[in-house]
């Protein structure tokens, strides 16, 4: 006798839920395992006084996102109007157009 469709559905869904739960457990354990590594990275940031992640190295304003100024894009290779895709993944820092200068 073949298995009922509903049984197969529940088995599949149950298996997927179990797998998802196992992955959640994996995530939790990995976070604990990675804690010292993250602490080491944070320490590196502290001693080297770093300000940015090294995600995109093709342009200064994508390498040091937080330090980008309003003009840096003009300093790049003239034909590189936009560094796609990095430029589309990273938006200009929110503080780019703000100023700490007193408001008038």
């Amino acid at each position: 006798m073949t298995t009922r469709y509903s049984t197969r559905f529940f088995t599949l869904t149950g298996a997927l839920l179990l797998l998802a739960t196992l992955l959640l457990i994996h995530a939790g354990r990995q976070r604990v395992t990675d804690r010292p590594l993250l602490r080491k990275s944070a320490e590196l940031v502290r001693i080297l006084e770093l300000t940015d992640l090294c995600l995109f190295t093709e342009a200064s304003y994508t390498r040091h996102l937080a330090l980008a100024d309003l003009r840096t894009p003009f300093q790049e290779y003239p034909l590189a109007l936009e560094h796609f895709p990095s430029g589309s993944l990273a938006s200009p820092p929110p503080h780019l157009t703000e100023s700490h200068a007193p408001h008038h």
Partner: protein
């Protein structure tokens, strides 16, 4: 109660048997659905984990970085500025940073060169990031040559490779001694790239930044919170590439919904009539349609999410890597820590499973209430 469950199971049996009649169509539907969830969940997992990691490691970033702007672009900052800033109440320490870029015309890659007092290096030695070491196949003890400001090549001994685990921060870094860096880059004494500040009370950061601009109008302070916000804004859904992914997903869902909402075929209507004639209630028909939406969307959602987790955290986002690398020659190879936001998963669930199920039920509402005698009269 047991017979209520058995009844729902019967309806599921019937629904699945009906769905399996169009194996090709429904199989394709399941595949496309899973793929959409996979892409969306991958983006979600990746961006959240990266942002969370950025937030955790950049906690230690300088409290304030002061830059100087000249002719509308950054310029080295005179060390006298440091003395002035030190005089501002609340500032505990001011340190000059020396750093800049180096373009490697052989490998067509950009490096970041910094000085680091905290990592002592013997004269003529440098420390390099793991990314440079990997790309140039240069290891501890090797000699590496860079062209200085005067056009002459200089040899450096690699004293240290920065740890592999910190690639996300240091893949492209070169650490050098200060006097060697000034000689190499041509930065005159008395100037620094920018200044970093330590502040007594973190609540005063904004006030201090305002005071700095007032005292030195050509300076631009960036406070730590702004650095963190920069990385929080990374991969925002409005960003070019992400909006394309999102729109593609939304469009796919609109097509699904269209297919469902464009109504039932005459065949489906007839089947509903038959079921009603043989004793199915309106609610049973709606349950059938509910399960039709639910079985497809729930399994697709789970499968897509699970695959996305594997993609991001086991294969280190292998499919996204080309996009992230972009035009960079030098890029970090990193494994993200699986930070997961349950709220995001819930949102994804409610944005995929619920609308799909609803668009499956709604069009059958009318058909479910048709008179069973339509079967007799056909």
């Amino acid at each position: 109660m047991p017979h209520t469950i058995e009844k729902q199971r019967h309806i599921i049996d019937f629904t699945l048997a009906s769905l399996l009649r169009r194996r090709g169509k429904n199989g394709a539907l399941f595949t496309v659905y899973t793929l959409i969830v996979f892409i969306l969940a991958s983006v979600m997992f990746f961006t959240y984990a990266l942002k969370e990691e950025a937030a955790q490691v950049l906690k230690g970033a300088p409290e304030i970085v002061v830059q100087r702007s000249l002719q509308g672009r950054y310029a080295p900052i005179p060390l006298e500025y440091a003395a002035k800033i030190r005089g501002i109440r609340g500032v505990m320490a001011v340190r000059p940073r020396l750093w800049g870029y180096y373009y490697d015309s052989v490998f067509l890659a950009n490096y970041t060169i910094m000085t680091a007092e905290s990592i002592p290096l013997p004269p003529g030695s440098i420390a390099i990031g793991h990314g440079i070491s990997r790309m140039r196949r240069a290891y501890e003890g090797d000699t590496i040559s860079f062209t200085g400001v005067d056009g002459k090549a200089r040899n450096f001994t690699i004293a240290k490779i920065l740890p592999q685990e910190s690639q996300l921060l240091s893949a492209d870094l070169i650490l050098m001694n200060e006097d060697e860096y000034r000689e190499f880059s041509g930065l005159p004494p008395g100037l620094a790239s920018d200044l970093t500040l330590k502040v007594r009370n973190p609540k005063e950061l904004t006030t201090i930044a305002e005071k700095i601009v007032k005292a030195l109008p050509d300076s631009r302070p960036i406070i730590r919170n702004e650095i963190l916000r920069t990385y929080d804004a990374l991969f925002s859904w409005r960003g070019g590439l992400l909006i394309i992914i999102m729109s593609a997903a939304v469009l796919a869902f609109v097509i699904f919904a269209w297919d469902k909402a464009s109504g039932l075929s005459a065949e489906e209507k007839k089947e509903i009539g038959i079921l009603k004639a043989v004793g199915w209630e309106t609610s049973d028909i709606l349950f059938m349609k509910f399960w039709e939406g639910m079985t497809v969307s729930l399994t697709s959602f789970l499968a897509g999410t699970i695959l996305a987790y594997g993609h991001i955290f086991f294969t280190s986002a292998a499919l996204f890597a080309p996009v992230l690398k972009g035009w960079s020659v030098l890029y970090p190879v990193f494994r993200l820590t699986p930070f997961i936001n349950p709220g995001q998963i819930a949102t994804l669930f409610f944005l995929t499973v619920v609308p799909y199920t609803v668009t499956t039920i709604i069009p059958s509402w009318r058909a479910a209430t048709i008179d069973p005698d339509s079967v007799l009269r056909s």
